[in-house]
């Protein structure tokens, strides 16, 4: 099989087919406007002539002698009784007729510009008018006439029709050198070839007929069209030869032109499309190529493949992020070619002997073999019956198609494939049950969830492909996104909640708990953190979390739950994360530490310890967190949004106050007492103020509710740790839902002058225009419910419209930029070799490797090379990220240094006072 590329197409030349060439490549002259005879046998010289190729079994091609899958098909020919214009070239023909002499065919010197666009005078402003005076040919002095194209295919000269025959004659007269001057290449196409005298008939393979269940034959659209052409062609020939009246001949000629035109393009403007018996417009040549389902976009730019599978996906936190769980049924159907050599022939034989469904071994899946490909290319299906016999045939040079095994590399993909992370390489794990499974951390790059999503899987078939996939496409290679230079694969949802529960206020775990937790990681139990009187030794959550970190990691940052002033280690919320030498000293691990897009720890590991280490961290963290959350437990329900009675009353009061304020505003508006805002109408001013008032009320209600929702509330933990949802969601549940809007404005549509018949006409108050003062917990009133649905519907419509719009934008972007690459000299060039950028991104830095867009993570490097001691010269605020902790020795040195500095400062210059930020403005 895979012999590599034996031939390479270097270039493609586009050209016209000359009548001679059409005749030369034709295998048969088609004259009968019919396909099959009554016995279902192709009629000779008909449209299904056996010289054109075969599509039925048991027949042989009369041209090449091949059978169904051997014969590629051959062209035929229809000799047209009279020449016809090719629709696609009508415009070009018009141009040529206009710029050449009607008598001698030479190029006219004062012709309007030879290319489509109008010529301009020297200043380039006004187009030169096509001279209206009569022009005469400088070569033969023939007076020229005005030629117009009566779309689609009729040419008129001074109102008189010129027949295609005459058109062709004129084009024939244009000498080669003039053709060249007109930017045509006579080597690849004489202009007169744009007027057809013969029509090639495509091979039957191109237009296969289908036999219906009833035994009836249904012909392809192209065949139908060719039948029309042949029929009219025949009649035209007969009438012409019989000397029929000029009028009749001309009518038939025009009809032939129509059929040929629609044969090429059935959507030509100006003529009715040819229709099928059922009234459906025929799909002719142009329609086959065009558009999304056309040949180009559907079959040439996108290709169908074998060795692929598709099924529903589901999560499995115990798999590595690099793995994918595959159902046994799928594994049995997909194969990897195994080339038999001297070294592995015995193993291969054993494999084949097992057949396609070997019995489970040790209760597990055992791979079998589906096909054996012999050296001569013959494919033998291995079945249980012939397995033994097949095994005998195995010898070096054969290829054995064996089923998937654990560790095979496959590509995994979810549509829409919006970026390169939509298709990544995973290692196979064959698992029971019928879904594809993968680690939850892989959800963000695929944008997958498990509400019924399906994904595709492709098995690589060549050594090169497997090697490339392993180096370039493995999931771990895509942890950092090229979009923003940060992790796109990371912890989410429960992982974050779990990390929070594990580290927030450093809970203690008993020996049995720790044993259970660490059993999932395969780590030995570390020495306990302390001893409690009754329950014995204990371990802390931070200690357990630290086990997953590299032992020399140093990091300091604020976690997601950080609020202003919560900086001191061990402060109220424990929100300053300090990691020293791989030990979490203080702080709570949440979204900012380990989540995708944000996670600082994840980012640091991926960048400084390599992708492999980051993968290990993710694998271990997902196991640890899933186990931990199972241990600690977290559940939330509707009563988590309960607020005490007095708070409820307070909220009601706030809302009532807002209602009153709105009523007052509306009254002011009616009385004309409202102060108009600059550049706004009275109505707009009222709207702005009402919205502001109601917004404040909603926030106030939320704040009141929020006061009773502390970090001991599970729903709040979810929101504050960044796992899922926001405080806004919670206050909408506990406080008030707030203003509903469509197109960014309060609701106003529905009935005449009002939103619902429940309200008075012209009511501008809060309730009448879509303010929902209930909370989700309390429940919405019927009118509120309706308003809420209006807002919700807009969101749905928005999403639907957005996907199509952004999809098209992306298609255009890809098409415009697909050919750009960085070449060896560091410039970015397109296929023409034009330099687009001298340095990619101005600094040659790969965004994937950048630190959130920064070329190098400067602070980190400074911290780790110079150390805290020197960095601290910059004052207590200096960034010490990545710096190793200060030892006592260093502390002494630091103290000394500071003394020195102070001394120097007194002396004057050298040391500048530490500034907060560099000032670029001055110079």
């Amino acid at each position: 099989m895979a012999q590599g590329l034996s031939k390479k197409i270097r270039s493609l030349q586009f050209a016209f087919l000359s009548p001679d060439e059409i005749r030369r490549m034709s295998a048969v002259k088609v004259i009968t406007a019919d396909t099959y005879d009554d016995d279902g046998y192709p009629i000779e010289m008909g449209l299904m002539d056996l010289h054109l190729g075969v599509i039925e079994p048991n027949l042989r091609c009369r041209t090449c002698g091949g059978r169904v899958n051997e014969c590629p098909g051959h062209f035929g020919i229809i000799e047209l009784a009279m020449p016809v214009i090719h629709v696609g070239y009508a415009k070009e023909i018009k141009r040529l007729l206009q710029v050449t002499c009607r008598a001698c065919g030479r190029l006219l010197p004062d012709a309007p510009s030879s290319r489509g666009e109008p010529a301009t005078d020297e200043e380039g402003s006004t187009p030169v008018r096509e001279s209206k005076e009569e022009r005469s040919c400088p070569h033969c002095h023939e007076i020229q006439q005005r030629i117009v194209l009566d779309k689609p295919t009729t040419f008129r000269e001074n109102g008189h029709k010129i027949t295609p025959k005459e058109v062709r004659a004129r084009l024939e007269r244009i000498p080669d050198e003039d053709v060249r001057a007109l930017q045509l290449n006579p080597r690849f196409g004489r202009p007169e070839w744009m007027v057809l005298t013969v029509l090639p008939v495509p091979p039957v393979q191109v237009r296969p007929s289908i036999t219906l269940d009833s035994g009836e034959r249904s012909e392809d659209d192209l065949t139908h069209k060719l039948v029309d052409v042949l029929r009219i062609n025949q009649r035209l020939r007969e009438n012409r030869d019989m000397g029929a009246p000029q009028l009749v001949v001309e009518d038939l000629w025009e009809l032939l032109q129509y059929h040929v035109t629609t044969y090429f393009d059935n959507q030509t403007s100006g003529i009715p499309p040819a229709r099928h018996r059922s009234g459906r417009p025929l799909k002719t040549l142009a329609q086959r190529l065009k558009g999304k389902d056309g040949r180009f976009r559907s079959n040439l730019s996108g290709k169908r493949v074998n060795f692929s599978a598709r099924t529903v996906i589901s999560p499995d936190p115990l798999l590595s992020i690099n793995e994918v769980g595959i159902p046994m049924e799928v594994a049995r159907a997909l194969t990897v070619p195994l080339e038999v050599t001297l070294h592995n022939q015995e193993v291969a034989k054993e494999l084949v002997k097992r057949g396609p469904t070997p019995p489970p071994k040790d209760g597990g899946y055992q791979c079998g073999v589906n096909y054996l490909i012999r050296e001569d290319g013959q494919r033998i299906k291995v079945m249980e019956k012939n397995a033994e016999a097949c095994a005998e045939l195995v010898q070096p040079g054969c290829i054995v198609e064996r089923q998937l095994i654990d560790g095979d590399i496959v590509l995994f993909n979810r549509q829409p494939s919006l970026h390169r992370m939509s298709m990544m390489a995973h290692f196979v794990r064959i698992l029971p049950h019928k879904t594809f499974r993968f680690n939850l951390c892989d959800c963000p790059p695929y944008n997958a969830d498990f509400d019924g999503d399906e994904m595709n899987l492709h098995v690589l078939q060549s050594q090169e492909a497997r090697a490339e996939a392993k180096v370039l496409m493995k999931v771990e290679e895509h942890i950092l996104s090229p979009r923003y230079g940060g992790p796109i694969i990371g912890m989410l949802h429960d992982h974050i909640t779990a990390a929070f529960l594990l580290t927030y206020q450093n809970p203690r775990f008993s020996k049995s708990e720790v044993t259970y937790l660490l059993s999932k990681l395969g780590y030995p139990i570390p020495p306990p953190a302390g001893q409690e009187k009754e329950s014995g030794p204990y371990w802390t959550g931070k200690q357990l979390f630290s086990l997953t970190l590299p032992s020399d990691l140093n990091l300091e940052f604020r976690s997601n739950i950080w609020t202003r002033g919560d900086d001191a280690p061990g402060a109220k919320h424990d929100s300053l994360v300090v990691i020293e030498n791989g030990i979490l000293k203080s702080g709570t691990i949440d979204k900012k530490a380990i989540a995708y897009e944000k996670g600082a720890i994840l980012d640091a590991i991926a960048r400084n310890y390599g992708m492999g280490r980051a993968r290990v961290f993710l694998d271990e963290m997902s196991r640890l967190s899933i186990t931990a959350i199972g241990l600690k437990g977290l559940s939330t329900g509707i009563d988590d949004e309960d607020v005490p009675e007095n708070a409820r009353r307070e909220i009601d009061q706030a809302l009532q106050a807002a209602h009153a304020a709105v009523t007052k505003l509306v009254a002011q508006y009616h009385d004309g007492e409202l102060e108009q805002m600059p550049g706004r109408s009275m109505e707009e001013t009222l709207e702005v103020m009402v919205r502001r008032e109601l917004g404040k009320a909603r926030d106030l209600a939320g704040d009141i509710a929020g006061r009773h929702l502390g970090l001991e509330n599970p729903a709040v933990i979810l929101a504050k740790s960044g796992a899922r949802g926001s405080m806004l969601n919670l206050t909408q549940m506990a406080g008030a839902v707030g203003q509903q809007s469509v197109r960014g404005e309060r609701l106003l549509r529905g009935y005449y002058d009002r939103t619902l018949p429940h309200f008075a006409r012209g009511d501008l108050g809060a309730d009448a225009r879509g303010f929902v003062s209930s909370s989700y917990k309390r429940g919405l009133s019927p009118t509120e419910y309706f308003f809420h649905s209006m807002g919700g519907r807009e969101g749905l419509v928005d999403t639907a419209v957005r996907t199509s719009r952004s999809g098209y934008m992306q298609r255009r972007l890809i098409n415009a930029l697909e050919d750009l690459k960085v070449v060896e000299d560091g410039t970015v060039r397109n296929t023409a070799g034009t330099i687009i950028q001298y340095h990619y991104g101005e600094d040659n830095v790969d965004p994937t490797r950048s630190f959130q867009g920064e070329a190098v993570a400067m602070d980190e490097i400074l911290g780790s090379t110079l150390g805290r001691r020197i960095m601290l010269q910059g004052g207590p605020d200096a960034n010490v990220a990545g710096a190793p902790p200060v030892t006592e020795e260093e502390m002494d040195l630091l103290a000394e240094a500071q003394l020195e500095e102070e001394g120097e400062e007194e002396e004057g210059e050298e040391v500048s006072p530490p500034e907060e930020g560099p000032d670029f403005g001055g110079e």
Partner: protein
């Protein structure tokens, strides 16, 4: 200090070059800034520089990286997460600005006029903190038409248009009666209209427009046809006259519909609805160095392509950042560079870059398939099959990444053919177990 920094910069550059790495200016400068306050020995400086240089070398792009596709994906993918709506501009609540996906599409389309043109006008250093001065400039910029400061009425019996200036409006717009008079005289055709003063006194005295002497009341369009008798149409004339008066501009820059002032830090900034960079820059007191517009095309016309490129990058970056989407600026640079590569702004799409590709097949595969193929046959075009789309179509490896390089292995020594000892098969062992 500056001297010292310069010396350091040179030293750092030198150290890096010794290690065969040329650091980009931006990195050099950030490094110098970051260590500006530190006392470092040369050895320390060397350590730092080498660490930075090493990291930079590691972070550079690989040759043959398909940066185009990555850029397109990085901009296109977040498109699905953007809003479709127009929002109020964060700074000025009174103004609507197109944001989100529609704005991004507009930029990529290289539209001549954005759907909501907008300018940010900064004022010269001397005046920027003085609200009154800035207001004066704003009034000069904002278009003021006659109806903005006066009511226009018609008196049918006397066939005249009466324009009565309104004092509060005059004041608010900083317009004098004389300004209106001048504008009327300048803008109305004296051959058709006669302008006189009407009733009232002082600033509020009205103007009247009558038919000019010797002019006819027939509409000007009818004048072309000489053979038709001119029919006076007084009412039509009256309407026309009042419309003409309505259109008279007293002052302002064409296209600027509204100008609002907002305080930002230590200065007042003018935001305008409508955009006319060329016109605004001519106004005295405007800081030309900082004033900007969201119309990329205007920037192109006034400052040239390089400025247009920068504007494209900035606008796209702002649009994405406003939506909270992180996209590396290098992707936006690449798109902008492609759009401005030919010296003017070309759209991403069939009329711009995609339509001008060298490959026939790539063009045919994008849009208007048949036309491109027919055209190719007429001119006898050759497709060199250098791009991605073409090679996919003919079924060959593409020219990017690993497809761009060949590996040819020529063993210098004839490989020895070893006959392996017979292997005893271990059925339990998988034959190609992967690590």
């Amino acid at each position: 200090m500056a001297e010292k920094e310069k010396g350091r910069k040179e030293r750092i550059d030198e150290i890096a070059r010794e290690a065969d790495i040329v650091l980009p200016t931006l990195i050099l400068e950030t490094l110098v800034q970051k260590i500006a306050h530190l006392k470092l020995t040369d050895a320390d400086l060397k350590r730092v520089t080498l660490a930075v240089a090493e990291r930079y070398a590691h972070n550079r792009v690989d040759a043959h990286e398909s940066v185009g596709i990555i850029a397109a994906q990085s901009i296109g993918e977040p498109g699905t997460q953007m809003t479709l709506r127009t929002f109020h501009y964060a700074g000025v609540a009174e103004m609507n600005v197109t944001l989100g996906l529609p704005r991004l599409i507009e930029l990529v389309d290289a539209r001549r006029v954005p759907s909501t043109p907008m300018m940010t006008i900064f004022v010269d250093k001397k005046l920027k903190a003085d609200r009154a001065e800035v207001e004066k400039i704003a009034l000069q910029i904002e278009v003021t038409n006659v109806p903005d400061v006066a009511t226009i009425g018609t008196v049918v019996e006397e066939l005249k248009v009466v324009i009565s200036p309104q004092l509060p409006l005059l004041q608010a717009r900083g317009v004098k009666r004389a300004d209106i008079e001048r504008a009327l005289l300048e803008n109305l055709d004296a051959r058709r209209y006669r302008i006189s003063s009407g009733s009232g006194g002082g600033e509020g005295r009205s103007f009247e427009i009558h038919l000019a002497e010797g002019a006819s009341m027939s509409p000007p369009a009818a004048k072309g046809k000489k053979d038709e008798p001119e029919e006076p149409m007084p009412f039509k004339w009256l309407l026309q006259a009042s419309d003409d008066a309505r259109d008279v501009r007293i002052k302002g820059v064409t296209g600027i519909k509204r100008a609002l002032i907002k305080k930002e830090k230590d200065e007042y900034v003018i935001y305008t609805e409508g955009s006319n960079l060329e016109g605004v820059l001519e106004i005295g007191g405007v800081d030309a160095a900082r004033t900007t517009t969201n119309s990329v095309f205007e920037i192109y016309k006034v400052f040239g392509v390089e400025a247009a490129r920068a504007a494209l990058i900035q606008e796209a970056n702002r649009t994405l950042a406003e939506q909270g989407l992180a996209v590396d600026i290098r992707h936006l640079m690449l798109v902008s560079d492609v759009m401005t590569n030919e010296g003017d702004i070309r759209a991403i799409g069939r009329h711009g870059i995609s339509g001008k590709k060298t490959s026939v097949l790539a063009r045919a595969a994008f849009e208007i398939t048949a036309a491109h193929l027919l055209r190719a046959a007429i001119t006898g075009e050759v497709d060199e099959l250098k791009g991605v789309a073409e090679n996919i179509i003919v079924g060959q490896p593409i020219t990017l990444g690993t497809g761009a390089v060949n590996l040819i292995y020529r063993p210098t020594v004839e490989p020895k053919i070893i006959t392996p000892p017979p292997i005893t098969a271990h059925p339990s062992e998988e034959p190609t177990a992967e690590v």
